[in-house]
């Protein structure tokens, strides 16, 4: 038996749900979309908030990953370190070494930490296999999932090094270690075999501590480990706090974005569901009167109308949870591939909280009008639709009637004033939809601008290098949650362990200069310098010639225009407490120069503090590459081939540049923005649809009268569409500035999360025409939402409409 019984009440509920099919479907669909949006937004908020923490917890991540010298600490000694006070769990020792494998195409991968583990699980660092299987025998290797790509897949074979006779390693799986304890894994026997061939070896131990949440605690834990073994036995340690910081830096960028969309989705869901439900009950007053007249008690009426809202809403909620999960999982999967970690499935409590909250909203939204219906005097309820309406909106009809527009249009324009609350809900739905669309357009434009600004070298048509390009390693795996530099012969390190032949930069320059078709070019090298006040080395790009075409976007100041100048990223300014105009002392090899900071570059490409200066500051610096712009009409490919033919015998090479693809995080955020926007706009459209359905139902008799006195279907349609057009215009006028403001609010927060300010091209992404079109988007949402009921009204038979009460 149903909640509402099989008796008269159940029959009333069933007939109410069945008879008002459009409304039932709208309630179900609007609720479904709202819940799906909320599930997607909620799950992304949860995932974006703590992907590393989730993964680390699930994998029993290693607080300290320690490398010991096996010659100074035996396996038994190391096993004992797991019993030290404060150690909650330990794993190892695992043999560990460093390898630089070479793939079939001859590309050498970056140096990888290879750890010998017979299984991925253990008390600490339960490495998760993403695909394939674990290595079972020598000759097999499992790589970190970030290496997976078209050229490196399961079944592919790598050579352990570029040395003659280096053993082949077949890739059997890809895995993720949240703690980043290794880049690759093989059987212990395989690692031992590599060690015997001269690779360095270490014993890796993984520890979890009772107290390891602060840097001080980690330092104390490390001291305990060092003290437990002989002097010099502990070669190095890696703290989980450093790994977490790197991971969170990338994740943090997505949090403000997802929060903004999540908040939009939730607010819209509440508005739409409330207006749908209260409208549904509100339009049934006459039926309520009849029910009371034939003996239903007020309580039964309340229950009946609560049920009529809750049944389709319940179905919509259930479908919404399913849809939300289906939509969220691929997004989370993408997110996971970027963050690295455990599968980021929709958090169970999101699947419980969202439908529960939606049900509560639906319940409250239905209860208020249902209680009103229950209290309504029978005679008043029956009179609804028969007695003439008075009051609301008449002034608007009078005023609109004066406009020099066709009468059906002016009649339609006045309609919203008849139901101010319903109109307000519709207006909010359109405004929120426009906010979402405006924000999403701005966000994707900003992300595109960030993407293109991150690889200034790719703007050059041809790159001419002083080394052979096949000696250059493919891109390193993306850092956790962060961005990655696109492959670039200039920024890539020369990978061959054998001494590669390097062409004389002067000869390469001469080849470029003398080559017909050379438009302009500049030289560049990437190197390490010392900067007074910063411990350790700092990455520096040194330029020869006019490098403006390869400049980074500037947050403030300007690009280098000569010697004695340096451009630095935001992080550099923060770390050194300097500002534009200050002078820093930079040492390259044995030369020192005092350089004035002239610009703040927009650079999120690495966590390093990369500075940019003129090569002429350091007499000994020489370019390792030349970035060439060819003359108009010259084929870059042909140009590169000709230059390569000249300089390859010297040891150099030339290749064309292709614009770098967008980074994973940017693509994911763009995809999320598009998906969430589509969902929010759909929900907004459904909100309008529902309101117009209610309006049209209520006014069907009036429309019948209009048709009877000669209003054509087209005029009827224009009347209904005009009734939402003003709402669309106002919604657009509210939504576009709000979306613009949201973009201006969220983007800098996202920038700060990754340690940079944002330059004007990233922030000022809206064109006036674009804003105008987005404003019209409000009208589009409103008109599309009203199109179905408008068509229905236009097609409604006049005789039937006239009989409708």
């Amino acid at each position: 038996m149903s909640l509402f019984g099989t008796g008269a009440l159940g029959r009333v509920v069933r007939s109410g749900v069945g008879r008002r099919r459009v409304q039932t479907v709208v309630i179900a669909v609007a609720t479904m979309m709202a819940v799906a949006s909320a599930v997607v937004a909620g799950s992304l908020m949860v995932a974006a908030a703590a992907p590393f923490d989730n993964a680390f917890k699930k994998q029993q991540g290693s607080h300290i990953t320690a490398q010991f010298d096996p010659a100074r600490a035996s396996a038994a000694q190391l096993a004992k370190t797991g019993k030290l006070s404060g150690v909650a769990a330990s794993a190892g020792p695992y043999p560990s070494t460093s390898v630089r494998p070479v793939d079939r195409a001859g590309f050498q991968l970056p140096a990888l930490t290879l750890v010998g583990r017979s299984a991925p699980d253990g008390a600490v660092d339960r490495v998760e296999l993403k695909s394939g299987r674990w290595a079972r025998k020598p000759g097999e290797i499992v790589l970190a999932a970030s290496f997976e790509g078209p050229a490196i897949g399961i079944g592919a074979t790598l050579k352990a090094s570029d040395a003659e006779g280096a053993p082949a390693l077949s890739i059997v799986g890809f895995a993720v270690s949240a703690s980043k304890t290794a880049d690759s894994w093989a059987t212990p026997a395989q690692v031992d075999a590599l060690v015997s061939e001269g690779h360095p070896v270490a014993s890796q131990m993984l520890y979890r501590f009772d107290s390891a949440s602060t840097k001080q605690q980690i330092i104390a834990d490390r001291k305990k480990l060092a003290a437990s073994v002989g002097s010099g036995a502990l070669l190095g340690t890696q703290s989980w706090l450093d790994t977490k910081r790197a991971a969170d830096q990338g994740a943090a960028a997505t949090v403000p974005f997802v929060m903004a969309f999540g908040a939009l989705g939730i607010v819209m869901s509440v508005i739409i569901v409330s207006s749908v439900i209260s409208g549904a009950v509100g339009t049934s007053l006459r039926r309520i009167g009849i029910l009371k007249a034939i003996g239903f008690t007020p309580r039964e009426v309340v229950r009946a109308y609560m049920a009529q809202a809750l049944i389709p809403a319940g179905a919509g909620i259930a479908l919404g949870v399913v849809l939300g999960n289906l939509l969220a999982v691929p997004l989370l999967s993408d997110t996971e591939s970027v963050y690295g970690g455990v599968p980021l499935s929709v958090a169970w409590w999101v699947d419980v909280t969202v439908p529960a909250a939606a049900l509560a909203v639906v319940g409250v939204a239905a209860l208020i009008p249902a209680l009103r219906a229950g209290r309504l005097r029978t005679v008043e309820a029956i009179a609804v639709g028969r007695a003439p309406r008075t009051g609301r909106g008449q002034w608007a009809h009078r005023a609109m009637g004066l406009l020099p527009l066709p009468r059906p249009v002016t009649y339609g324009l006045a309609t919203p004033f008849t139901h101010p609350v319903r109109t307000l809900a519709m207006l909010l739905a359109v405004a929120f939809g426009t906010v979402a669309a405006t924000f999403a357009v701005g966000l994707t434009s900003s992300l595109t601008a960030i993407g293109t600004s991150q690889d200034p070298e790719s703007r050059a048509a041809v790159t001419v290098t002083t080394t052979k390009l096949n000696n250059v390693a493919p891109p390193p795996p993306p850092p956790v949650g962060g961005s990655v530099a696109s492959p670039s012969p200039v920024s890539g390190s020369v990978a061959s362990t054998s001494e590669p032949k390097i062409a004389d930069p002067a000869k390469v320059r001469a080849a470029v200069t003398s080559q017909a078709g050379t438009g302009s070019y500049y030289g560049k090298t990437q190197t390490e310098v010392a900067v007074t006040g910063i411990s350790g080395s700092v990455q520096a790009s040194l330029y020869e010639g006019d490098s403006r075409s390869g400049s980074y976007e500037m947050i403030s100041g300007h690009w280098i225009t000569g010697t004695r100048q340096v451009v630095v990223p935001t992080r550099f300014l923060e770390k050194t407490s300097t500002k534009i105009g200050d002078t820093v002392r930079v040492t390259y090899e044995k030369e020192t120069a005092n350089l004035q900071i002239v610009g703040e570059s927009f650079d999120t490409s690495s966590s390093e503090l990369e500075i940019h200066a003129d090569m002429a500051n350091f007499a000994s610096a020489e370019p390792s590459a030349f970035l060439v712009e060819v003359k108009s009409g010259v084929s870059a490919d042909e140009y590169a081939q000709k230059v390569a033919a000249v300089i390859q015998p010297l040891g150099g090479d030339a290749t064309t540049n292709t614009p770098s693809g967008q980074e994973g995080v940017i693509l994911i955020m763009s995809a999320m923005a598009v998906l969430l926007t589509l969902m929010l706009v759909s929900v907004a459209g459904l909100g309008v649809l529902n309101s117009v359905v209610l309006d049209t139902r209520e006014r069907i008799h009036d429309l019948g009268v209009c048709k009877a006195i000669g209003m054509s279907p087209r005029q009827t349609m224009s009347l209904v569409l005009a009734s939402v057009t003003a709402i669309g215009v106002i919604g657009g006028l509210i939504g576009v500035p709000a979306g613009y403001a949201l973009h201006r609010l969220v983007m800098p927060v996202m920038g700060r999360a990754v340690g940079t300010s944002l330059p004007s091209p990233v922030l000022d992404v809206y064109e006036p025409v674009q804003l105008l079109l987005l404003g019209l988007g409000g009208v589009v949402i409103a008109v599309l939402g009203a199109l179905i009921p408008a068509g229905w009204a236009a097609r409604a038979r006049t005789a039937t409409a006239l009989r409708t009460e």
């Binding site: 009468r407 009036d702 019948g704 048709k707 006195i709 000669g710 054509s712 038979r797």
Partner: protein, 230 residues
Amino acid sequence: MHQVIELEGVAKRYDSAGAPALGPLTLSVAKGEALAVTGPSGSGKSTLLGLVAGLDKPTDGAVIVAGRRIDQLSEHALAKFRREHIGMAFQFFNLLDDLTVTDNIQLPAQLTGTSRRKAEARAYELMETLGIQKHARAYPGRLSGGERQRVAVARALVNRPALLLADEPTGALDTASGHDVRNLLMDLHRAGQTIVLVTHDLALAEACASRTIHLVDGHLALDTYAQAVR
């Protein structure tokens, strides 16, 4: 004599298996004639009115109004035809509560594209004729039944239609208001307006109509014109 309405073998079935709700019926109404259609509930009076107004389409036969066969027109063409050639007054007035009396009356004129000024002038002319000019700025909800029906008639006449259809125009009125409306219809008839009046009220039919037909189960049971001819 010029015929405003010509029905040729018109039948209307709502249920393909059942008996027709109306007809087959052949009938013509001349210009200036006032035809009263009487009959019990379910006799097909409203169906007949709906077919003549182009609100519904016959299952069989042809409906010709003002010289145009309207049963083959599209919805758009029908709407256009209706606003130019037919005025309708309903039992429950069917005025738009949101609009003032003037706006209600001038609405059909505005639908034809007549300028607001011209439509307003015509509305005032009709309000004066029908004695409701003092309610020009009022809303229908504030008027008595009789006044509302006058407004409805004024609206029906605003485009100077060839045909005025009145569906139980006194059915929702008290006696005094009913009397008012009866006089109004008589005046219109005397002025040469072609009228089709559907009513239960035989006294109204007798007073206002030059001819009466009586329908029973969708069939013509009485036609006073035919009787007179015989």
